[in-house]
C-alpha cells in the first residue's frame, strides 16, 4: 500500500502539473493571440458588432482613419495620401487582409470590452466605442515615398528603424482607394492592388542577396577578405555558366571591389567555395526558410533552397537568383541587422493600443530578434556597403552629410530575359541619430538600379527630415 500510494502520488502530481501547464498555455495563447483569432474575417461577431470603430493614427498621432458622428468610417481627405496608406491602414470591407482595419478589427471594435467599460456604457446608454490603434508608420513619409515612386511602375518600399524595429513606411504599388470600394473597382487590377507587397511580395533578390553571401564568407573564413579573385566577365563551370552584368570583365579584384562592383563571377565562386550547407546556414540565420511570427502583422516566409541538384543551383543561389525569394520587409531587416552591429530587431507596427477612455492597453516595444552576425563582421560588411554607395554601383543613393550604405540588385525574373529585371536597392543610414534601413524594389525597373537608388536617397532623406 505504501508503494501504491507513492506511485499514485507521482502519477497524480504529473496529471495535476500537466493540467496546470494546459491552463497556463491556454491563458497565454488566448492572451497573446486572442485578438488575432477574433479579427479573422470569418468572425461573424465583427459584422454583428454594434460598436463604433476606434481611430487609427500614425506615429505622430495624425488621424489615418476615424469614425464620424453618423457612424461612417472616414480616411484621409487627401486622395494621394489615402491611397498611399491603403494597404497599411486597410479598409472597412476587409479587401486588404493585412491592413489594420482587418487585422485589428477585434481591437478596433473591442468586441470583448472590459467590465468597467460595459457598466459605464450601460448607465450612459451610449454606443460602445472600440479601442484606438496607433501605428509606428509615419503617414507623411509614406505619402511622400508613394508620390516619389517612378510613375507607372509597381513595387514596394519598406523603411524601418533598425535600432528599434519600428516600421516607418510600407509603400506598396499599385494602391487602391479605401473610400471607393463600392464598385470593387480594384478587383480587376493586375497583381492586385489589395496586396501589401512589403509583407506579401515574394521577390527574387538578385544581387542584394550578396550581402548574405558576403556575411557567410566572412563569418566562415576571415581570410577571405584578402583573397584575390579573377573575373573574365564570365565563368564556365561544370553544368552551367555565369556572366557579369552588362558583360563587364572586372579582372583581378579583391572581395571589397567585387562587392561594390557587384561581380557575379566572384560571388558565384564564393558560393561554390562555401558550399550549400554553410551558405544555407547563414541564410537561415538571417531568417530565410523561417516561419516568421512577429505578431503585429503577417509576413510571408522568405526562401532559400534546402538542396540543389547541381553546382548550377548553388552558384546562382549565391547571387540571389534561382529559388531564393525574399520580401521587402525582410530585406530591410537584413540591411538593418548589418547596420545594428549584427543584431536583427523584431519588426513591429503597433505603437500603442488605447481603449475608449484613452487608457493604454498595450504598447509596442523594441525587442531584439536575433544576433545574426558578429559585430566585427557587421562593421566590415557595412564598410563594403558604404564603399558601394561612395564609389560603386549605388552612388545615386548618397545623401549629402550622411553616410549612406547600400547595395543594388537587378533580379532576373524570367529565364530568357524577355521580362525586364526587377530593380532593387537595400541599405541604411549609418548614423546613431537616424538609424533607418530601407528596401526598395521596382518591378521591371531595369538594370543598373538607378531608379531604386535615387528613390532610396529621397526616402531616407525625408525619413531624416520627418521622423527626426
Amino acid at each position: 500500500m505504501k508503494e501504491l500510494r507513492r506511485n499514485m502520488r507521482l502519477v497524480g502530481t504529473l496529471v495535476v502539473v500537466l493540467f496546470v501547464g494546459l491552463a497556463a498555455w491556454f491563458a497565454m495563447t488566448v492572451f497573446t493571440q486572442g485578438s488575432i483569432w477574433a479579427s479573422d474575417v470569418r468572425n461573424s461577431r465583427l459584422r454583428a458588432s454594434n460598436s463604433l470603430r476606434g481611430d487609427i493614427t500614425d506615429r505622430d498621432g495624425n488621424l489615418l482613419a476615424t469614425t464620424a458622428e453618423d457612424g461612417t468610417r472616414q480616411y484621409l481627405s487627401n486622395a494621394a495620401a489615402r491611397r498611399a496608406l491603403s494597404q497599411t491602414v486597410g479598409d472597412i470591407a476587409g479587401m486588404s487582409g493585412t491592413g489594420i482595419e482587418t487585422f485589428y478589427s477585434a481591437t478596433l471594435l473591442d468586441i470583448s470590452s472590459s467590465l468597467t467599460d460595459r457598466l459605464s456604457e450601460l448607465f450612459k446608454s451610449a454606443r460602445h466605442v472600440g479601442s484606438s490603434v496607433q501605428i509606428t508608420v509615419d503617414g507623411r513619409l509614406q505619402a511622400y515615398i508613394a508620390s516619389a515612386f517612378p510613375q507607372g511602375y509597381r513595387g514596394a518600399v519598406c523603411v524601418m528603424n533598425y535600432k528599434t524595429g519600428e516600421i516607418l513606411a510600407m509603400v506598396s504599388l499599385p494602391e487602391y482607394d479605401p473610400d471607393d470600394l463600392a464598385a470593387r473597382a480594384y478587383d480587376q487590377v493586375e497583381d492586385t492592388a489589395y496586396l501589401n507587397r512589403c509583407l506579401q511580395g515574394l521577390y527574387t533578390p538578385g544581387s542584394i542577396f550578396k550581402i548574405v553571401t558576403l556575411a557567410s564568407a566572412v563569418s566562415n573564413d576571415a581570410g577571405v577578405v584578402d583573397q584575390t579573385f579573377t573575373c573574365s566577365g564570365e565563368w564556365n563551370y561544370d553544368g552551367g555558366h555565369i556572366v557579369c552584368a552588362g558583360g563587364a570583365a572586372h579582372g583581378a579584384l579583391d572581395l571589397k571591389a567585387a562587392f561594390k562592383r557587384s561581380c557575379n563571377v566572384t560571388f558565384g565562386k564564393l558560393a561554390y567555395q562555401l558550399g550549400l550547407d554553410r551558405l544555407r546556414a547563414t541564410a537561415e540565420r538571417f531568417g530565410f526558410n523561417e516561419n516568421f511570427k512577429f505578431g503585429d502583422f503577417v509576413v510571408y516566409n522568405s526562401a532559400f533552397p534546402k538542396e540543389v541538384d547541381s553546382m548550377n543551383g548553388l552558384v546562382w543561389a549565391g547571387i540571389g537568383q534561382g529559388e531564393v525569394l525574399v520580401t521587402p520587409l525582410h530585406m530591410a531587416m537584413i540591411a538593418g541587422s548589418v547596420a545594428n552591429g549584427g543584431t536583427m530587431m523584431k519588426p513591429w507596427l503597433i505603437k500603442r493600443v488605447a481603449n475608449s477612455q484613452g487608457v493604454t492597453v498595450t504598447r509596442g516595444a523594441a525587442e531584439p530578434y536575433r544576433q545574426v552576425l558578429s559585430p566585427s563582421a557587421a562593421s566590415l560588411i557595412a564598410g563594403y556597403m558604404y564603399e558601394t554607395v561612395k564609389s560603386g554601383t549605388a552612388t545615386r543613393a548618397a545623401i549629402d552629410g550622411y553616410s549612406v550604405c547600400g547595395k543594388t540588385g537587378s533580379a532576373e525574373v524570367s529565364d530568357d530575359k524577355t521580362v525586364e529585371t526587377n530593380a532593387w536597392f537595400t541599405g541604411f543610414v549609418y548614423d546613431e541619430e537616424h538609424p533607418y534601413a530601407i528596401a526598395v524594389v521596382i518591378e521591371g525597373g531595369g538594370a543598373g538600379a538607378r531608379m531604386p537608388s535615387e528613390l532610396a536617397a529621397k526616402a531616407l532623406g525625408k525619413a531624416i527630415e520627418y521622423v527626426g
Binding site: G12, F19, F31
Partner: protein, 432 residues
C-alpha cells in the same frame, strides 16, 4: 471519553466545512439562470424554473448524501457546480429550450446514478469473484454497436446503440467506470506481471474494439488509464514504459494507415489551410475563444453557435466566449480541485482495490478533460471526447455522475474507517 463524545467527533470528522462553498455555488447557479431568464423581452420560464431548481437540487443532494454517508462534500458540490455550468451554458446558447431541458433530465438521472454508484461501491465486497463477469459485460457492451438494427454510425464513429426513433446511448461512455472497476480488481494486491496478463488482455481487447469503431478519443483514454493504473499498482516501470512505447508505435501505425487520423492531425497543425471545410470547426472555435477576451462577451451576448458542435465537442470554446478567459481557467481549476480531492480519497482508501478504483476514476476524468480542452484550443489534435459533466449528452453525463458516485462512496468508507480508528484509539486510552 464518553461514547457520546466519540459520536460527536465522528460527525465532525465526516462533515468538513463546506457551507461557504455551497452558498457560493448556489448563488452562482441562481444568478446565472435568472440572468438568462430575463435577458430577452419575454421571460424564459424554463430558465426561471431552473434558477430555483438548480440551487435547490444542489442543496438537497449535498444535504441528503452528506446525511446518509460521510462523503467528501467538496467533491460533491464541485461536481454539481460543473453540471450546472453545463446547464447554464446550454440554456444560454442552445437553439431551442429542448436541449437544456433534456440535459436537465439527464442530470437528474445522473444524480440518481451517483447515489447508486456510492451505494454500490459501499456494498460490493466480492469484487474478485465478479470481475470476470464484469469484464465480459464490458466487452459485450462495447461490441454492441455492431449489432444489427440497434448499432448506429454517427459523427464518423460506430459507437452508439439505440432503437430507431428512440433514445440512443453510447456504451463506451457507460463502460468507463465498469472498466476501471475491472482494472482495479485485476491489479489489486500487488500482483506479478503474469497475474496481470488477463486484465491487460481485457484492456487491450477493449481498446481494439473501440479502435475498430473509430472511437479514437475513447481508445486513448482507456489505454492511458490502463497504463497509469498498472504502473501505480505494480511500480513496474519497465512494463509501463514498454506499454507506452507500444501505444506510441500503435499511434504511428494508426497515423500511417488511417486517413481520418491524418486528417485530424493536419487540421490541428494548420486549420487555416482549409478554413471553409475541414479546418472550419477549429478556426471557429479559436475565433470564439479570441472574441471572448478576458471577461467574455457576456451571457447571451456571444455567437458561439457559429462553431459546429458548439454544445457538445466545443462547449469549452462556447463557455470561454460567453464567460471569458478568466472563468474558463477557473473552470479548469475546478477540475483540478476535484482531481486533487479525488487523489486524497485514493491515498486514504484501506484496500488496494478501492485505492486503485478511486485513482483510476480521477485519472480518467483528468485525462479526458485535458484531451478535449487541448482539442478545443489547438494544443492537441481534436479527439471527440466529452468535457466531463459539462458537455451536452446523456451517456457521458450519467456515466460520469456514476463514476463520481463511486468516488464519493469510497470517500465515505474512508471517513468511516478513520472515525473507527479514532474510536479504537480513544478506547485504548481509556483503559488505565
Amino acid at each position: 471519553m464518553t461514547p457520546d463524545k466519540v459520536e460527536k467527533m465522528k460527525k465532525a470528522l465526516m462533515r468538513s466545512n463546506t457551507h461557504l462553498l455551497l452558498s457560493a455555488v448556489t448563488l452562482f447557479q441562481a444568478a446565472a439562470m435568472l440572468l438568462i431568464a430575463f435577458q430577452k423581452e419575454a421571460v424564459n420560464p424554463q430558465a426561471l424554473i431552473l434558477a430555483a431548481a438548480l440551487p435547490l437540487v444542489t442543496w438537497l443532494v449535498t444535504a441528503l448524501m452528506g446525511r446518509v454517508w460521510p462523503v467528501d462534500r467538496a467533491i460533491l458540490i464541485l461536481v454539481m457546480l460543473l453540471c450546472s455550468v453545463g446547464l447554464i451554458t446550454l440554456s444560454d446558447i442552445a437553439r431551442s429550450d429542448v436541449t437544456p431541458r433534456t440535459q436537465a433530465y439527464y442530470a437528474l438521472a445522473g444524480v440518481a446514478a451517483m447515489f447508486a454508484g456510492a451505494a454500490f461501491i459501499r456494498r460490493w465486497r466480492q469484487w474478485k469473484k465478479y470481475t470476470p463477469l464484469l469484464m465480459a459485460l464490458c466487452l459485450i457492451a462495447l461490441l454492441s454497436p455492431y449489432l444489427p438494427k440497434v448499432g448506429i454510425y454517427k459523427y464518423g464513429a460506430r459507437n452508439w446503440v439505440g432503437l430507431p426513433g428512440g433514445p440512443s446511448i453510447q456504451p463506451s461512455e457507460f463502460m468507463k467506470p465498469v472498466m476501471i472497476l475491472c482494472l482495479a480488481s485485476g491489479f489489486s494486491n500487488r500482483p506479478r506481471f503474469a497475474r496481470c496478463l488477463p486484465t491487460i488482455g481485457f484492456a487491450a481487447l477493449c481498446c481494439g474494439v473501440l479502435l475498430s469503431e473509430k472511437d479514437l478519443g475513447a481508445v486513448l483514454l482507456y489505454f492511458l488509464t490502463t497504463v497509469l493504473m498498472y504502473y501505480a499498482a505494480t511500480s513496474n516501470a519497465f512494463i509501463t514504459l514498454s506499454g507506452l512505447g507500444m501505444g506510441a508505435a500503435a499511434a504511428v501505425i494508426a497515423y500511417r494507415a488511417l486517413p481520418y487520423v491524418q486528417a485530424r492531425v493536419a487540421i490541428w497543425q494548420n486549420p487555416w489551410i482549409d478554413p471553409q471545410d475541414s479546418g472550419f470547426q477549429l478556426i471557429q472555435s479559436l475565433i470564439a475563444i479570441g472574441s471572448g477576451g478576458l471577461f467574455g462577451m457576456g451571457l447571451g451576448m456571444g455567437m458561439p453557435r457559429d462553431i459546429p458542435l458548439y454544445h457538445s465537442d466545443f462547449i469549452f470554446a462556447s463557455i470561454t466566449e460567453e464567460f471569458g478567459l478568466i472563468f474558463a481557467v477557473g473552470l479548469l481549476a475546478v477540475y483540478v480541485m476535484i482531481i486533487m480531492r479525488g487523489l486524497i480519497v485514493a491515498f486514504n482508501a484501506r484496500t488496494s482495490f478501492h485505492s486503485l478504483a478511486a485513482f483510476g476514476l480521477v485519472i480518467m476524468l483528468g485525462l479526458q478533460t485535458m484531451l478535449i480542452v487541448g482539442g478545443n484550443t489547438k494544443l492537441l489534435p481534436l479527439s471527440g471526447v466529452t468535457l466531463p459533466l459539462v458537455c451536452y449528452g446523456g451517456s457521458s453525463l450519467v456515466s460520469t455522475f456514476f463514476s463520481m458516485g463511486l468516488l464519493l462512496g469510497i470517500s465515505s468508507m474512508n471517513a468511516e474507517d478513520e472515525a473507527r480508528d479514532i474510536e479504537t484509539l480513544e478506547l485504548r486510552e481509556d483503559v488505565p
